[in-house]
Symmetry: C2
Amino acid sequence: MKLAFLGLGVMGYPMAGHLAKAGHEVTVFNRTASKAEAWCREYGGARRDAPADAVAGADIVFICVGNDDDVRGVADGPRGALAGLKADAILVDHTTASAGLARELEQQAKAKGLGFLDAPVSGGQAGAVNGRLTVLVGGEEATFRAAEPAMRHYGQAVTLMGPAGSGQLAKMVNQILIAGIVQGLAEGLNFAVRAGLDANQVAGVLSKGAAQSWQLENRAHTMIDGKFDFGFAVDWMRKDLAICLEEARRNGSSLPVAALVDQLYQRVQARGGGRWDTSSLIQLLAEP
Amino acid sequence: MKLAFLGLGVMGYPMAGHLAKAGHEVTVFNRTASKAEAWCREYGGARRDAPADAVAGADIVFICVGNDDDVRGVADGPRGALAGLKADAILVDHTTASAGLARELEQQAKAKGLGFLDAPVSGGQAGAVNGRLTVLVGGEEATFRAAEPAMRHYGQAVTLMGPAGSGQLAKMVNQILIAGIVQGLAEGLNFAVRAGLDANQVAGVLSKGAAQSWQLENRAHTMIDGKFDFGFAVDWMRKDLAICLEEARRNGSSLPVAALVDQLYQRVQARGGGRWDTSSLIQLLAEP
């Protein structure tokens, strides 16, 4: 199958690589051309200097960039992906973006006879490299079925959540859950240390019961050690929480803890931790 | 071994039952005598009308009551457990209470030549019935070793966390973690419903990734259905959070989310939900 991949960041680079390794003919585009050159050297695909050229003749085109504006930057305009796609092609957006953008892009795609799926992922850089991402998809069933086999090359779970925008909405739920879990974990571990407990032992014992979470099992020890130079960055989390809070304003949801945690992440950014892992919330509590 | 069990509530009743079923000679005391009579009919042990009488001759005495004052009510005074215990006996307090009380009781016990362990449990009524509780123990190692085999009859994990009070402190960490997890889950599931997603499907998919938690796997579906007439009650959780917040004031911990969630539970109590499961936080968000 002829594929195109637009955006070779920490997620897109290995995701596009999985498609090439599976034997697909992959053409790539990246704003910073040197990244695309490196990718072609590693995986042997072709690269183009504009999205419209990269997607020419492709059956499915994947976008994985930073935010709503970045998606519009590669999809819209005379050199954009929508201008270059052949009829019946499918556009898949893996960016974590707003549900409104997903609905707009589906409209634009339909007007040109194209299919569209919003398909944000979770699982982080490790999941992208290992091909074990969770892909949360919004769109029409037939479009989903056509694109699903390709996404399985990097997705261990690829699920249609509902119509266009539903992938983004499900990803927002994911981030809302994580906000509560990580701040609760930060408060609990900091309390454990200040109370004179062996915080690592406490984490191990409590992971057997009702306080268990993926974050407790995978982040408690690094949080206790104050290691944050890895993982899903605070800057990205704040971008995602902004989308959650805006959508909540629209659908009438109350998010008291997610809103509070967003403000706490602002303090992490202010002290230079924008690139730290989201578990760095504990830093705000660890001071004397 | 000759044992005594003081307090036959939803937790103590089945816990004492496990000790009797294991072949120990168990004498019980309960403030409401009819509960003790029922227990004796079911398990064949003896009952006494005062703690001092129930503990006479016992090697280990277990307390499992409501709060600090209730513990003092059965431990102190001329008819209390401390007055009736023989030298070298061990007093184990399974109540979730303050770390300060644990340290006080250890002092009182030592002065009489007795051993003491604070040993709050987690796992709820189901864990007590099935003998699968997590027991978080504070106290001296030799005392722990002597009492551990008996506690194994209802504890799948029985762990010494440190000196007297450490069991209570570890239990507090557990409740702090749960406060963040459950409120995050309430916000996320309510958001999912309002966004038009299939919230049960979202819960299932997200439980494969970094937002996974015991609460997501075991409470999401009942939360979506608005079922709260089971589980660990809001009244008990508020009692525990009060202990956490008081201890945090002492050790210099900041608990912004735990304090907020405690206030949210106040709202659940105000609408008559004091006996609802802790997952009932979602009720506050579900209104029009």
